[in-house]
Subunit: 371 residues, 4 copies
């Protein structure tokens, strides 16, 4: 670790973000047709190493089904609009028409409605019936209360996600979620995060999770950096989690997946995330720009609805193309925002790597600017 | 210290500012309800580690009282409008209506009126009567002349503040303020600054001050960097002062408080200042944006009124919310400018720290950009 | 190599671009009249170390002839509009009038027409008849199919160019281009690229090429960095290729030329490319701004016509002056976009270097900004 | 020297500019009244360490006289408009009214008129008669032809200035200026430059010059960096020249003055230049903004009039105040562009330095941004 003395009484590590690095082609190239993007986790095999973010502007039951059909998986948030309201479609329609001034209060109001168990079960059954891999998401705070419904609906994958999730949550008075105990009492494989350091990643892996989400406030809809001062370059955070994965594998023989969450806006970012060490990528704002996206050109996360300390608002992302065009093309532009996985495939071909695991070995350079 | 050879005949240290660092969450989290923001200095305990800057756009007797009620303390400048004019309110009203072209001359004029001892005493008595901790501020130049009035009014805390204040001021001819002697002949605990290096901080601590202000021209209303070329990254300056605090404590057994002054615009900056080593934070422009602020949407400091070498002008800051909303929420936006201490509390919870002293141990990273 | 640990599980090298470096004058200067810009490769001697990029917006038969007359050489792309269409002039005219929305589809359409062998031969004969050095370009994919026509027309130089070209292309099923075999069965000297690392450069040199093109997506018309995440600072890429040239020379006694391709927009960039180690420079967008340029104020590359993953679009470059003014002056402005080689000559004079080979020894500094 | 490997085949040094550094106050302060800005060179003593750039937009006979009255010295260019035309005032008036398109041609035309010996002598006599120190400037190319007139007029200081001036100019055929011989055959002390490295500075010092100008294309009116790629951070260039001054002093016992030329726009830059090691500063664009400036709100240098390779054009600088306000105040704004030497004096006071030579010992930091 490169420690920098930032003052006589404090040191810090240098961290890097996607914009600061590039992938260096080397002496071998390959045909795109020979590149394999398959991602296997637990008993599941996906054509694309993609989890769509559990955000109401991105994943509704219908987009989760379409994303599944295209080869990835969409995680439906069990504490979002779809489990608080019978019919969220008119609500989503309304949100798209509100002014920036009015939308914050309305979001807080809409997310204050109680989560209803029967809706949790109904939404998951809808996904199950469509034949796609069923992924659901909860917060660490919401998880215990939803345990019964989750067990009843049996999703294929469960995402436990907060701004920062730790294996050691300290609370005086009432008992906090014991992640290790919670993960082990479920049969469903669990993905848990965000985290952003080697130690945090390692301890999350030790809870028995199948995968961890790497990133803290890195998404476009987040203002965690301004509001909380928290952050870590995604490049560094992923590479640290990779080191934790190696150590955990060495200690236990278990390979825990590293899922880059946040900051992936283009196919170039996607390729860089894999090279840093990610097994798969969680994407939100890039998919909120789909024609089918429930956000209708807008994007927001749960923290935007926080009553006293919102960290992010409703962000305008526009519409770039269909989910299919955004994920697997053909591209409708040339700036890397559509045909995301076609771009990844081409990047792998031009650096001579046939699989995601091989692509993790590609070389990176820091800097170099536009020329 | 990381010395960089900037040329064959000169070296320099690398310094860092708030925008260049982020706080790295680690493997532990905590409930916000269990976080304690209490700050103790001398005989006083504050709910919030906050001193509002002794600037006329921020602290009037009434805002000092409101800030005290909310848990912090506001320092009233004894060489500002409130001690030069019987009724500053119409003057503040007038300043808010003047054009940028006219306001500089008018400021110079208004600050040329003499400071009146009876107003000094009356303003401090008004604060005392309101039951809040009474803090007053003077410049090193103005301090000797106001000594009698200060002793008569007995503020709880005295701030001695200039662009750069040193323990060794050299003057030919007339005698300069002997800080050590001045501090020791007062019973009031003294906070003194600005300073920006280990040596300067250490020597200020040795004057017997209860706390030192760290920062040189770092505030939004200052152009010290352009006009004088002086500066130091706040992150580095605070960390250096922390090292001086450790040495002074080791040598004398006395803990002198480090108060970050300047550059704290968001709750994220506030959290970073604590992590760098600050015990408390002095804030100006962030509070000038309060609905109750005397500046009525504008902000300026004493140097803006300098007749021949102004370093800063009247800056438009707008109105973001009430003092209460800005300090303790609820936030009225999501960019970290309101509910400042709610943001600090959340940052401490997400990094697992229960007290300010513990939060000083959190880890920082340099860089990483937005992703 | 300066390795930076970007995270605990991954390292990267620091790379630099033209904008980050400057040439440091030293203790000797020289008259411009005594500076010699001659470039010799194989049996050819050029007054200017320039190859105009094989892009339809830059090189048509007539501009290739004019560039040859001015002392450089223009490479005609054998898979561009001139070998797919009988008369590209009306097509180029049409492209200049289309809106940004319509032009992408039209480009894809126009470049979908088949390459015709008789046009390949006719275009090259036209160049031959004009008495200039004849340079033609192909992609690695297109090369095998055009072998017969290339042999028939016997260009003086052949450029084999793709986004990334490697000496070891892996393909399952059908046989890929064997570069080494292809290069050795031609009598024409071959220039091949792009590449961007020491290893890639070294292996391309070992194919028997007379020169290699250094640069990956560095051109103005490219969005390779956003779409694929690939890149390398041109300064670093050229310096790495220079090291490969030294090793190859040491191993084989053969001097393979390093041609900087992409990112050279001004005469200052041109001078920096030579100092980094380039023997000559390939330029596109700078020449697309010529009054005679076929692009008529626009610039694009072959990747812009890709049907499913375009990497770049039609870029507006405007018109800066005649080809003569742009290459050898007089300058029509003072920003380094015209009289490119006059600027190089002056830079060589002010650093005291008489030949390109000497100029490669000039000193560089990193940083320093505008003052 | 910190060498950075920019690629496997090339290294470079890290260089710094004024914007990248700040002056760190330390533990001592001082009264401004006790600060002494006196600069002594050869037999002359100046109240201000200032040479106004020999540029027609800055120095005319009348502004040279006014600058002399204010304590500095203005260098009149003997190859500018004042020695080519009988009455330049109507010409300067005309230039201020021309459009950007037309002004370049007109400049080239006006500077093509021959330099007339009788005007050279008349202009210098006008300055002599006004009682100020008389400084004249020539280019290395123009110097030999003007030798007779210079000897006749006997200026007090002679500036020999070009973009890059070296002690070893190589020319085939006609004999170049032998700087060493030229300097030694004059009785007038000579200032010579620009240069930007230790070696170049040392060799210029060895010519017998009384001072050297440090800076290559660093001025606001220059585009040397874009056109020629040449440059060096001013901070690094001055610090290198300081090291050369120490060596030369050690070898010969002669103290050669280092004059920072270019990049000084504010009083903060001025203070930084002194701290880096400059004995005095040459300023152009800052003074072109004076109400009395011949450029009438515009600024340009001799290279703007070059017929085939102009490096810089006419730049709009506006009018900030009188020469007196710009140099010694009172300031008419708060951004450091007026009362330049009042700002320097204050910076010296706040860092506790009484003389320029002491100020050269102040500490610098690199970075730290705005907070």
């Amino acid at each position: 670790m490169t420690e920098i003395e930032i003052g006589m009484g404090k040191s810090a590590r240098r961290a890097f973000g996607f914009d600061e690095v590039s992938i260096l082609p080397s002496r071998r190239t390959r045909n795109t047709a020979d590149v394999d993007l398959t991602w296997q986790i637990d008993a599941f095999t996906f054509d694309l190493p993609l989890i769509a973010s559990a955000m109401d502007a991105v994943v509704s039951p219908s987009t989760a089904i379409e994303i599944g059909r295209l080869g990835g998986v969409g995680a439906l948030h069990l504490e979002g609009l779809w489990t608080r309201h019978d019919d969220p479609e008119p609500i989503l329609e309304e949100l798209a028409t509100l002014s920036d001034e009015k939308v914050r209060t309305r979001l807080t109001e809409l997310y204050a409605s109680p989560v209803r168990g029967e809706l949790v079960r109904a939404r998951l059954i809808e996904l199950r019936d469509a034949g796609v891999v069923v992924a659901a998401a909860v917060t660490p705070q919401g998880a215990p209360g939803l345990l019964g419904d989750i067990r009843a609906a049996e999703p294929d994958l469960l995402v436990i996600q907060g701004t920062v999730v730790s294996a050691e949550h300290v609370a005086r008075g009432d008992e906090p979620l014991n992640l290790k105990q919670f993960v082990r009492q479920l049969e469903t494989p669990v993905l848990v995060g965000g985290c952003a350091s080697y130690q945090a990643a390692l301890h999350l892996m030790r809870t028995g999770a199948a995968g961890i989400l790497v990133g803290v406030g890195a998404g476009q809809a987040s203002t965690t950096r301004r509001v909380l001062g928290l952050g870590a370059g995604q490049v560094t955070a992923i590479a640290d989690a990779r080191a934790a994965r190696m150590r955990h594998l060495d200690e236990t023989g278990v390979y825990v997946h590293v899922i880059a969450d946040g900051g992936v806006h283009t196919s170039g970012d996607l390729a860089k995330a894999i090279v840093c060490g990610a097994d798969a990528v969680m994407m939100g704002s890039a998919l909120a720009a789909a024609a089918e996206a429930p956000g209708r050109g807008y994007h927001w996360g749960l923290p935007a609805a926080h009553a006293t300390l919102p960290r992010g608002g409703r962000v305008r992302v526009g519409t770039r193309g269909s989910l299919e065009e955004i994920l697997v093309g053909p591209a409708v532009d040339h700036d890397g925002a559509t045909n995301l996985f076609g771009g990844l495939r081409k990047a792998m071909a031009l650096t001579g790597h046939a699989t995601l695991k091989e692509m993790q070995k590609a070389e990176l350079v820091v800097g170099g600017g536009a020329s």
